[in-house]
Symmetry: C2
Subunit: 477 residues, 2 copies
């Protein structure tokens, strides 16, 4: 019988909350059903009652359980509105995907918070030294804030939209105008606005699988039915779209064609054409997330789908978070004006806008002579880290993992050859001071992992891979 692990870095109450969440997710405690009393669970798990109280409080704050004074704690009967943080896992299971495993992410996050010496291949972002800190400070110190700079323009600071329009034309082959651009706080907000404004609860969408997990939970909370778009080493497979359309009347496609997160794949040209043609024929909008094309090594920047989309079927989402200062939190949507207008209007209900200061800094950065050299340096550094990671994998995990070397981006997607339990492997890794993300978090089958080689320092990479190898051996026993 399961009991929490007292040796683990994860607090006992968290382990218990995670365990209960998995059971709820798997239907062992269906919606509306009563949960064991605190006293009973404490006995069962061999912990103090206060530990169970904390675990239930955690689940209550997630909206998973509810309790009324004088009655038992029970599983929430209603998880189906925009506020619910927990996706309706059972629906996703109906769709044939694998259940994304959010407790893994929490386990990783807690471990990283507690121990800063962990070698981090998990956090999907750049290491601090790759951020243009000096450049941002230089620009910030020469910026002048003025309230009339356009804080209250709902589409975002006009000079930033102009700078982006030029940037997108020069670097992404997208011809657009400032009025077709909406500034957001990043891809997450862009996707949130699109799901809330252009789709209704109950609508069906198709999302590449495996896929970036945080959007998945958000789609689910928005009440959308998610169907997987299969992927292989050449990117998404568009031939499945037609069937998804006729069977499920999907209303929108979500793709990340260039250096896909988490698989690192690049959508092949003929696939891109088929995708565009199919979507166009069916009148299906494509939402394209394009955050890291500019990290392409040894090749021209891969063009986005948007650049080749003559029929304006594509809503294009980008952001600076992976290629420039994540701390500015600048993202954008490029879409037909009426859509931009609608999204901007809806956003005004959620918040009146964000500070003009980061937008000013971002506009100045894009236009400054500091920007392209920064991108060049970033690309070089990423390539160094990728090479170090690949070399270390060959050295220490030869035959134990399989992978294709990506041509850009931040992530390396590996298939794990021996059979291991994802959770066990993760625990062994964290115990040894290295973090990665199990592929099931992204909806992949068990036995995959994502390594964000961009994150650790280059000199930590070999040691990190060594630790991973030791963990894999321990988990395979």
């Amino acid at each position: 019988m399961w009991k929490p692990d007292r040796e683990s870095a994860v607090p006992l109450y968290r382990q218990i909350a995670d365990r209960l969440q998995e059971m709820i997710v798997h239907g062992e405690y269906p919606p509306g059903s009563p949960l064991p009393s605190e006293r009973k669970l404490a006995e069962q798990f061999g912990v103090n009652r206060s530990t169970v109280v904390l675990a239930y409080a955690e689940l209550r704050s997630l909206g998973l359980v509810e309790s009324r004074p004088g009655s038992k704690t029970q599983v929430s009967s209603n998880c189906n509105h925009a506020a619910s943080r927990t996706p309706e896992w059972h629906r996703y299971a109906e769709n044939g995907g694998f259940l994304p495993n959010v407790p893994f992410l929490r386990r990783i996050r807690d471990a990283l918070a507690q121990d800063t010496a962990i070698i981090d291949f998990a956090s999907g972002k750049l290491s601090t030294d790759l951020s243009p800190i000096r450049e941002i400070n230089e620009i910030m110190h020469s910026c002048t804030y003025h309230p009339d700079n356009g804080s209250d323009v709902s589409q975002g600071f006009p000079l930033l939209r102009e700078a982006l329009a030029s940037f997108l034309e020069r670097n992404r082959g997208i011809r657009t105008s400032p009025s077709s651009i909406l500034i957001t706080s990043g891809s997450q907000q862009s996707l949130y606005l699109i799901s809330q404004c252009l789709l209704s609860p109950g609508d069906a969408i198709a999302v590449e699988t495996p896929s970036f997990t945080r959007s998945l939970s958000m789609f689910q909370s928005a009440g959308l039915r998610i169907y997987p778009l299969p992927l292989d080493e050449h990117g998404v497979r568009p031939e499945s779209i037609r069937e998804l359309y006729s069977r499920h009347r999907i209303k929108m496609l979500f793709v990340n064609p260039n250096f896909q997160n988490p698989t690192g794949t690049l959508l092949q040209a003929d696939r891109k054409k088929l995708l565009l043609d199919t979507a166009s024929e069916l009148g299906l909008p494509i939402v394209e997330d394009d955050p890291i094309s500019l990290t392409a090594y040894n090749m021209d920047y891969p063009l986005p789908i948007k650049a080749e989309d003559a029929s304006s079927n594509t809503l294009y989402i980008g952001s600076f978070s992976k290629i420039a200062a994540a701390g500015l939190r600048i993202g954008w949507i490029v879409a037909p004006k009426s859509v931009i207008s609608r999204l901007a209007d809806a956003r005004k209900q959620m918040d009146i806008g964000f500070s003009v200061i980061p937008q000013q800094i971002a506009a100045a950065f894009i236009e400054s002579p500091l920007f392209m050299p920064h991108l060049d340096r970033l690309r070089l550094q990423l390539q160094l880290k990728l090479n170090a990671t690949v070399a270390a994998l060959h050295e220490h995990l030869n035959g134990l993992v399989q992978f294709s070397v990506p041509q850009g981006g931040l992530h390396l997607w590996c298939k794990i050859v021996p059979t291991v339990q994802d959770g066990k492997f993760l625990d062994e890794a964290l115990r040894r001071g290295v973090a990665f993300v199990p592929g099931s978090v992204y909806g992949a089958e068990p036995g995959y992992m994502r390594l964000t080689y961009a994150r650790p320092q280059v000199e930590e990479i070999e040691e990190g891979i060594k630790r991973l190898a030791a963990a894999l051996l321990a988990a395979s026993e």
Copy 2:
């Protein structure tokens, strides 16, 4: 028969869109019903067909009308989900409130955008000269951005929460800790998070009436049923709460007790006690919006309800937008930790956070020796503007308006004595180069107006009031 006014500053297509929106709102074109063809409407209004095309595009972008290829334009059948920008006015009418008039706001916004010489008593914010521009730039130029500064802390930059905790204790009598504070982008986002996370569609809430209009549309879009909490010159009247609770099972109260927007009233002490006692007895959370207490003239800062709430029934919302740099977009919620946690978690689905830079600047500003002198200067300036406004009203509108002089804040709430049509009065005012907001925008009965004396330059105030007087005379004929 109504035709658009070719003399008006408002574009013809906008007038037509507004007109159609009013008719839809009033039920003359019910949901799902067909609208006239573009050609027919163009004939009827004596305009080009392209003008009607633009008007329909405007309504489409608002989600009010829909059209499918090959079939007529019709009124949207589905306006009832979180994405819908248009409130369900007919519901609000059922509740006995007056229909907030959003087309008025658009008319004002368009006029202000087109003519910068308009004397602006409408925009509910400080004039540029009252913003601490010099101080913000000084701080920004000495700040150092670093990615590890906590961009990804979902509750908000830790140093800002610490600075706010001290600030709130010193200035608002609220004892709290950084972990009970959530940084938001302002009151709008704070209210949005609360409605989305702590309430469900169909829930009933009670909101002071008249009230800040932008929150009203947001509540409606969230599917909440809004019941008015009556107000008089001493603030909200808490004796109506009990009845609202037993008849409608209201789940939450929304109040703005100190220098209420738009009426400027201050909640009297015995009312405050009754409000707290009633809410506590019924287990009703109070959401308190407290943006401008620190502008109190000639009196100590009025305490918030939160300071006297021993039973943690109050969710406290504040922001800097009215007392410091609106361009930073910093707001906060103070609430029990489990609530803060829940709101922070839910927000992560909507966006991953906002830039640490404005948060750093705000933290430094609060803690700097520049902050209190700024507030002192602000208070003095506001009082000067208020005095000028009151003097001008006595001089030029004596007997034509009635008002109480507020003891702080930004707004003066006037009852208009002669009978005039709000829309006509507004048009005459805009035509003469002065803007105000008709009270019906806030859900008040016709015949009221809000003058934001904080907004125009002090030397413009008398001229602005003179123009208002001329407009009132013209509209009374």
